[in-house]
């Protein structure tokens, strides 16, 4: 009895030591590690980054803000993952998956012998539990809507300890992309708060690190409110390099909370951080020229997936008591008016002056860097004031002797453009557009508004005439944007809350988008989506303007650094990053 007691104590001590130590554990027999093909790195070092604001939670189900998701993404893992470099899906915690002939049933085989960062085993029960939480209407997860296909939630069934079946109500194109970034959670830690109805309160920043576990490359070590969160290596991480070294190479990953992009740039310039992401063109120019940032590399990755646009208010204003705006909607509703505005905007100047050349002009919603979905045949309307004037003339507009544009009734064309004060680029764009449209005789007023006040006008009160906004930037696939293009979508910004399509072309877009959503063959799907893009471009519900390039910087001594267009641009392969010794390391910091 005494000997068994000693043995149990020893086991407990070993278990505790395993959790306490973040040294990489040697691969275990039967452990199905994923072998990566990166350059073989070196263990050690602390990678420091600055975030513009503090993460608000560590709960992957309720997190909606970017800083939280950036941290959570390093603590958790998904079944199937989108490779940010290739933009294609690849196995992650799922070793493989198969799809039924009708495209409705996915059978996922999990890797064997994997463990959470607290050393507890991971299996199908954790997968079923995770999806149960995501799908629970009472939890109000922002990701739940992704898991509702054809109006019905995905059905999740455990087949055996390492197999799970997912059944969709209808075929869903690129359904495997749904699994990306859906964190698999530890049932052993979270089932109790979930059953007690306390799931939203679980995994806050104040939760002790020992009560947080995930399948990501790092686990929480320390959180200091307002200052930083320190992550340490997950010793049980399920990826290894070709030499069977368990990843990640880095000992620690530190996120500093600095407040804004300028502070981020200053910290990088002062050598306090190792990577800087999503730089503005001004800071990119400043940092890349600054002698203090020697020992760093800067990357212009090309156009992002985000698109800036000008949108006119076409909402039904009958119940809103906004007569002056409703009167102007006669202009905005005319396709030729919108086309004229599009023709009169000098996009190249926007790229040159707003993004100092680090951007691309846009004529559609799909960025040129979206390798799979951009429509090469989409017409690029040239900047032409003559064409704009012809379009306006044909719609019955004319000009007074002083050059002021007037409509059929002789009313001067005058409207305001609202834009967010927190986005300097869009403020500049608004001024350039004001100038461009002034050449057409339109009197445009720029009205900068605080961001939430702007959202309130666009989504709630409809008290605006035109707005400059941006969308996109998530996945490269068209499906996450369904709610922008479907006439009843919640982000159908130009005309929200439509019970049925207001125009024929919107009805056509509805049909094409619905068809592409269930079309499983890429070629056919691309054809449908190209048609939708062409209709959108021709009818100009959004006047597409430009997309900023993704600009990032990093220390030269960071091995395997491979920034990508898709979020998270610099940390998507954080488990592979390592410090190359003797290559411009930060003084006194790196191995």
């Amino acid at each position: 009895m005494h000997r068994w007691g000693c043995f149990a104590t020893l086991l407990l001590a070993c278990g505790h030591a395993c959790f306490a130590s973040s040294a990489p554990q040697p691969p275990q027999h039967g452990e199905d590690l994923l072998v990566t093909d990166n350059q073989i790195g070196r263990y050690g070092g602390t990678l420091v980054l600055a975030q513009r604001s503090e993460p608000k939670t560590l709960n992957p189900v309720t997190a909606a803000d970017a800083p939280s998701r950036e941290v959570i993404g390093r603590l958790t893992a998904d079944l199937i993952h989108i490779n940010r470099w290739t933009q294609n899906t690849e196995p992650a915690l799922a070793k493989a998956w198969s799809v039924s002939n009708d495209g409705r049933v996915f059978t996922v085989k999990l890797r064997h012998g994997l463990r959470f960062s607290d050393g507890q085993p991971f299996d199908a029960d954790d997968v079923v539990f995770s999806f149960q939480v995501y799908l629970d209407e009472n939890v109000h997860s922002p990701q739940r809507d992704l898991l509702v296909v054809g109006g019905k939630p995905i059905k999740v069934q455990k087949i055996d300890q390492y197999s799970v079946r997912f059944t969709l109500a209808q075929p869903y194109a690129a359904a495997e992309r749904i699994f990306d970034s859906l964190a698999m959670m530890p049932r052993h830690l979270l089932e109790r708060p979930y059953k007690a109805g306390q799931f939203a309160q679980a995994l806050t920043l104040n939760t002790p690190p020992a009560e947080i576990a995930g399948m990501g490359p790092f686990r929480v070590k320390q959180y200091i409110p307002g200052q930083r969160i320190v992550l340490e290596r997950n010793p049980f991480y399920w990826k290894a390099d070709r030499s069977k070294n368990r990843l990640p190479y880095l000992d620690e990953l530190v996120f500093l909370f600095v407040g804004n992009e300028d502070a981020q740039a200053i910290r990088f310039q002062a050598g306090e951080t190792d990577i800087i992401s999503r730089l503005s063109a001004e800071n990119y120019a400043l940092l890349s020229k600054d002698v203090a940032t020697r020992g760093t590399d800067f990357f212009d990755l090309g156009p992002s997936l985000e698109y800036d646009f000008l949108v006119f208010n076409l909402n039904d204003l009958r119940s809103k008591n906004l007569d002056s705006i409703a009167a102007k909607q006669a202009w905005f509703q005319a396709v030729k008016f919108r086309q004229a505005v599009s023709s009169a905007i000098d996009r190249d100047s926007i790229v040159k002056l707003v993004y100092t050349g680090h951007g691309a002009a846009l004529w559609g919603n799909v960025s040129p860097s979206n390798k799979l979905w951009t429509d090469q045949m989409l017409p690029h309307t040239p900047y032409s004031l003559d064409r704009a004037r012809e379009l306006l003339k044909s719609e019955g507009f004319s000009w007074r002797s002083d050059g002021q544009l007037i409509d059929r009734q002789g009313v001067a064309v005058e409207f305001s453009v609202i834009t967010s004060t927190s986005n300097a680029q869009r403020m500049k764009m608004a001024t350039l557009i004001q100038d461009d449209l002034g050449k057409l005789g339109m009197n445009v007023h720029v009205v900068p508004l605080e961001f939430r006040a702007l959202l309130d006008r666009v989504f709630q009160t409809y008290d605006y005439e035109a707005s400059i906004m941006a969308l996109g930037g998530g996945d490269a696939d068209p499906n996450p944007e369904m709610n922008v293009w479907l006439s009843n979508g919640g982000t159908h910004l130009w005309r929200l809350g439509e019970a049925r399509p207001a125009t024929d072309w919107e009805a056509l877009i509805d049909q094409l988008m619905q068809k592409q959503m269930v079309q499983l063959k890429y070629k056919e799907r691309k054809h449908l989506y190209d048609q939708a893009q062409e209709i959108i471009a021709a009818n100009v519900p959004f006047v597409f303007l430009a997309t900023p390039n993704i600009l990032v910087g990093a220390r030269k001594n960071l091995g395997n650094f491979k920034p990508a267009i898709l979020d998270p641009n610099t940390l998507w392969n954080v488990e592979q990053l390592y410090f190359i010794p003797g290559n411009g390391a930060r003084p006194g910091e790196k191995p």
Binding site: E54, T62, A64, G226, L455, G490
Partner: protein, 322 residues
Amino acid sequence: MKYLERRVIHGLLLLIGVSILCFALSAAAPGNFFDEMKLNPQISPSTVAGLRARYGFDQPLVWRYGHWVESVLRGEWGYSFAYNCPVRSLLLVRARNTLILTGLATLLAWLIAVPLGVWTANRRGRWDDRLSMASTSLLLSVPELVIALVLLYWAVRIHTLPVGGMASVDFGGLGVQAKLFDLALHLVVPVTTLVLASLPLLVRHIRASMIEVLQAPFVQAARAHGIGGARLLFRYALPAAANPLSSLLGLSVGALLSGSLLVEVITGWPGLGPLLLDAALARDIYVVVGAVMASTLFMIFGGILADILLVAVDPRVRLGKV
């Protein structure tokens, strides 16, 4: 004692008034915490509506106020939508950081301002007084935002001072002395900014009070008796000039929580400033209300402290003759 009781009751009424005003203003502000989600095409309007309902946004303002008062009585000070936790836990740690910064800055500002104000008053009209007045005029005209930016630029260039935050990344592994040194280094930029921003006002007030006292007959009499120099200034004149200064000190204490918000944001000091700014922009209203209430509490405390000091330093007030 009755006076103190009356002041405390006034303070409580003020707190209630501020809380109602805060609630009314936050309700009048356009937009709410969940609006940003509407821009995400992957989140449906029904999910946003569900979240709004969970946090009581579909309830009338009076109901929400009552709910908040309940949570204040429980010691939670409301609930943060963003952090999913009670506001108190968010405020306490950041208020501590703010007090470290402002406490030190206020102490330094007074330690510099008192001798400087007394000295310039005594040297009234001479070149050094004029130089001091010109410097304080210049500092008064420069916003603290500019002072902070200049100091940050300098810190980036000299590479020996940290350019933000409260501690280095390796702070946890340092010894006690090294920790204190690290903290001191991080305090240089924000404390210097606050000191430079508050110094001119203090120096000018002290100087003005002292000039008035130095012209008083009792000071002339003391001079005639051969009392001069520092003894006259600090032993006799300064206590007589302390009456208006005690109100100023009360104000300084009252501004401890709210006086450094902008500087904290610029220099990345993890105090109430960045939290309040984030919360205001995100419409995390209970955090905003909580921070405003905490600042109001300090203001009330500062006012009471000023009154107590006034009673202590001025016998006329004590005897009810003023």
